[in-house]
Symmetry: C2
Subunit: 278 residues, 2 copies
């Protein structure tokens, strides 16, 4: 089912993206995707903080939280009395328009885009039974200068996602060039070994999502000790449980990865409850 | 001096880029930049062939040569009698609009953009004395799946180009993560050792430009034997001559890279003549 989109560009329903926008020309920008519940974006402080930090890595001054929140309020008006709705906001910040050539103009005016779309409907069995994953042949390149940030250079994710068409596979596991597990195309990943919860080190590639960050922060409430470490595929396959996460679905238990099948346990369910996801 | 731009999107002066265009969302597309002399794009067969090949790598069906040439003829009309002009055409092909998510829609309609801009004016001394290069701290990531193609994921080039503001430095040398020389931010590179002309292997990163390809093909006419090989920085610094190239300026002699200064020789001048550049 196609989503229905409306969007604001620099706060304006009638503005458009120029082909001279460096977001289009070079993928020169960053983005975030978040749930909006009854007009209120979830985990907004974390999303905005991450947007500012990611912008800073590539030298963009992020528009103010007030401007962005104003856009969100225009696109997702709060009704009185409130109607129970869940929608999705995608926020894109590009460096703005520029001349030909990689050097940014001396004065840049970032382009801010907020896109509203209908929420993804996840199968009930994803919550009850977990999800099946594809092991991607496409591997992530090592780029310490851009690792962790959610920039607009996402061709690797596109190439990886094009590897499978079987809609029963929820996401695909991405490894680095050395074969270490990093993340999935649209999710971060955790593996439990006893009371130890391991999530891959993202200092050379991958996107450090805010749900991953929230899980790292709350793991102790589930009596789990988090380690951020190199995680080989061999090691992942020996985990007691595997879980993936992002801002839209919270956390899902991983049922299988290729031939490997994990027993039905409750890590993702407990994490969803702790994150206050449905 | 700011360039003056006009552009056609899908052959239409009034069309715009949607923020849902995958070129903007993910850098999901490819591009080329070429000289247009008196309304005729230079090396068009090579540029079009490269556009088709690059599109194919990421699974985009490139619009026909007729469509693109029609756009170019609209933007760069040939006058009668001809007026001697040199302008620049940038051709961008994105996968087109899509839903949220990395999976391309089952039916995609690529977006084609042709942008006209005024030609860069290169300093006369670039031709007579050569150019000075910066050694970039930013290194290219190894991604064999995307190596060689000129896609829209160009944040590495942007980050590298942001390293220097001294306008006397013409371009910056990019190395891979292991320290081998690959290219410059907007140019390919050749090093001469005696009668051997070496250009870096681009099978794991870098952009294989068409001027590089043309030089590889014509080198024998200059009594040079070309090798495509791994080229360490140490090795580059021992070259008899170094030259950079792209479709806009042809070839420039490299005068210096950081502390290293090369003697004034004629490789680039001879190559420009062979390429029929001014």
């Amino acid at each position: 089912m196609a989503s229905i989109h409306t969007y604001l560009i620099n706060g304006d329903f009638n503005q458009v993206i120029s082909p001279l926008d460096r977001g289009f020309a070079y993928g020169d920008g960053v983005f975030r995707t978040m749930l909006v519940r009854n007009g209120v974006p979830e985990s907004w402080p974390q999303h905005y903080q991450k947007l500012v930090a990611d912008c800073a890595v590539i030298g963009i001054v992020c528009p103010s939280a007030e401007l962005l929140m104003g856009d969100i309020q225009q696109l997702f008006p709060i009704t009185h009395p409130p109607i129970d709705t869940i929608e999705i906001a995608k926020v894109i910040i590009s460096r703005g328009e520029g001349e030909r050539g990689y050097a940014p103009p001396s004065i840049t005016m970032p382009t801010r885009v907020v896109i509203k779309s209908t929420a993804s409907v996840y199968a009930t069995k994803n919550y009850s039974d977990g999800v099946d994953l594809h092991l991607c042949e496409t591997r992530l390149a090592d780029q310490p200068k851009l690792a962790g940030i959610k920039h607009l250079n996402r061709l690797e994710n596109v190439m990886a996602r094009m590897e499978w068409r079987d809609e029963s596979l929820f996401d695909g596991v991405l490894q680095d060039q050395e074969g270490n597990v990093i993340e999935c195309t649209m999710s971060n990943l955790f593996a439990r070994f006893g009371t130890k919860l391991t999530t891959p080190d993202l200092s050379h590639c991958g996107v450090a999502g805010i749900t991953r960050q929230r899980i790292i922060a709350l793991a102790h409430t589930l009596d789990l000790e988090v380690t951020v470490a190199t995680l080989s595929l061999e090691c992942l396959l020996q985990a007691d449980e595997v879980m993936i996460c992002n801002s839209l679905y919270g956390a899902f238990q991983v049922r299988s990865l290729n031939q490997k099948v994990w027993p039905q346990l409750n890590l993702a369910k407990n994490v969803r409850a702790a994150l206050a996801y449905a």
